[in-house]
C-alpha cells in the first residue's frame, strides 16, 4: 500500500533562518506531488506541484521554493524565513491517471518567531 511521510512533524525557527521540509512517498511510482500551506483556522493554499523529477510549478509568488530530486521525494525550502511563513505544511500525492483524489501526509507545523 501507498504511504506518505513528512518530516519534521513540528518546527520552530527564527526569522531569517533557512528551511527544508521533506516529503517522501512509498508504494507508488511517478506520482504527481503537491505542497500546500494552511494558515491557522484557514483553508489550504496550493504552493507547488510536480509531475516528475526536476519538474516544479509554482502557484503563488512567495518566499519558498520546491525541488524534486527523486521520483518519490519532494522538498520545500526557503533561504530566509518570514513571520508570514508560519503555518501547517501539507504534502500530497495523486495516484496517477484515472483519479483526481489526493492523499495527504501528516503535515509539518512550522512556527516562525
Amino acid at each position: 500500500s501507498q504511504t506518505i511521510h513528512q518530516w519534521p512533524a513540528t518546527l520552530v525557527q527564527p526569522v531569517g533562518s533557512p528551511l527544508s521540509l521533506e516529503c517522501t512517498v512509498e508504494g507508488t511510482s511517478n506520482p504527481n506531488l503537491y505542497w500546500y500551506r494552511q494558515a491557522a483556522g484557514r483553508g489550504l493554499q496550493l504552493l507547488f506541484y510536480s509531475v516528475g523529477i526536476g519538474q516544479i510549478s509554482s502557484e503563488v509568488p512567495q518566499n519558498l521554493s520546491a525541488s524534486r530530486p527523486q521520483d518519490r521525494q519532494f522538498i520545500l525550502s526557503s533561504k530566509k524565513l518570514l513571520l508570514s511563513d508560519s503555518g501547517f505544511y501539507l504534502c500530497a500525492w495523486r495516484a496517477g491517471l484515472g483519479t483526481d483524489t489526493q492523499y495527504f501526509g501528516p503535515g509539518t507545523r512550522l512556527t516562525v518567531l
Partner: protein, 112 residues
C-alpha cells in the same frame, strides 16, 4: 482563477442534530471532492462526485452534486462527537495537472 465558495464557516450543533455544508461554483464543475480534517490532523478524502444530480451515502453522511454541476452539499444526520472537524470541498483548478482548489472549509463543533 477557479474558486469555490463554501458555507457556513462554522457550525455548532448539539449531538444528535443534523449538519449541512454547501459549496458553490460560478462555473460548471467536472467533479467535486470532499475531505475531512480532524483537529490537528491532515485532510482525508471522503468522496468524489462526478455525475449531474448524483447522491452518494456513507453511513450518516449524504453527498449531493447539483443538477447543473455548480454546487454540492454534505449532510450529516444525527451528528456524533466523532464528526468534529473541518469539512472541505475541492474542485479541479484550471491548467491541468489535477490541481485542487479547496473551499475555505466548514468547521463543525459537536456539543455532547
Amino acid at each position: 482563477g477557479q474558486q469555490v465558495m463554501q458555507i457556513p464557516q462554522y457550525q455548532h450543533v448539539q449531538e444528535g442534530e443534523d449538519f449541512t455544508t454547501y459549496c458553490n461554483s460560478s462555473t460548471t464543475l467536472s467533479n467535486i471532492q470532499w475531505y475531512k480534517q480532524r483537529p490537528g490532523g491532515h485532510p482525508v478524502f471522503l468522496i468524489q462526485l462526478v455525475k449531474s444530480g448524483e447522491v452518494k451515502k456513507q453511513k450518516r453522511l449524504t453527498f449531493q452534486f447539483g443538477e447543473a454541476k455548480k454546487n454540492s452539499s454534505l449532510h450529516i444526520t444525527a451528528t456524533q462527537t466523532t464528526d468534529v472537524g473541518t469539512y472541505f470541498c475541492a474542485v479541479l483548478g484550471r491548467g491541468g495537472y489535477n490541481k485542487l482548489i479547496f473551499g475555505a472549509g466548514t468547521r463543525l463543533a459537536v456539543h455532547p
